[in-house]
Amino acid sequence: GAGVSQSPSNKVTEKGKDVELRCDPISGHTALYWYRQSLGQGLEFLIYFQGNSAPDKSGLPSDRFSAERTGGSVSTLTIQRTQQEDSAVYLCASSLSTPYGSSGNTIYFGEGSWLTVV
């Protein structure tokens, strides 16, 4: 696609329910990132994918959070047993990648998935 696409754009869920957030990166971008942005806060790194592999999951807040990527394209971030503190904007980004990493390459962001846990 022309840009990074995220769905749903808004999600209100009850505490304890599971949610899935989807990211469709720019075609040909092998690197994919998930970030979380809480109200009035900066960006918190969650996970990085290179192709279908996730060499860095260090930012996932707890074992309730998981993510996968299939076909080197679409990624899904799953939050199980949601808590109120999970309420935030979840941003996905993608970039081209070189043998030396993605640095210097622009990362392109989606519009975000706004999650509210009530």
């Binding site: 990074v4 690197a31 990132y33 970030y35 806060q41 900066g42 960006l43 790194f45 990085y48 290179q50 060499p55 860095d56 941003l91 980004a93 990648s97 030396y100 990493g101 993605s102 640095s103 210097g104 622009t106 990362i107 392109y108 962001f109 989606g110 519009e111 975000g112 706004w114």
Partner: protein, 113 residues
């Protein structure tokens, strides 16, 4: 280790006056540096980036930034603020050979009529 510090969490300017958003970085090697803008309820949009070419980088919407190695700074400027510039601005540093993009905490720009 890399890090980035945005020195002001909030900046207010009057419409038509210059904008200065400050960013200092820490990096052992030559970094790549970016400025992103986030308008309310939107994703992040690239304003400009520095990747060891010209030290003065021009971006979209009249913004520019100068890479100063001696000062480890990458401040964002614009000669004349417009109401539509009101947004949150993020300075980002990354290091050659890695995938990590380190974000600053953001500067919220307010433009007064």
């Amino acid at each position: 280790a890399q890090s980035v510090t945005q020195l002001d969490s909030h900046v207010s300017v009057s419409e038509g006056t210059p904008v200065l958003l400050r960013c200092n970085y820490s990096s052992s090697y030559s970094p790549s540096l970016f400025w992103y803008v986030q308008h309310p309820n939107k994703g992040l949009q690239l304003l400009l980036k520095y990747t060891s070419a010209a030290t003065l980088v021009k971006g979209i919407n009249g913004f520019e930034a100068e890479f100063k190695k001696s000062e480890t700074s990458f401040h964002l400027t614009k000669p004349s603020a417009h109401m539509s510039d009101a947004a949150e601005y993020f300075c980002v540093v990354t290091l050659s050979g890695t995938y990590k993009y380190i974000f600053g905490t953001g500067t919220r720009l307010k433009v007064l009529a």
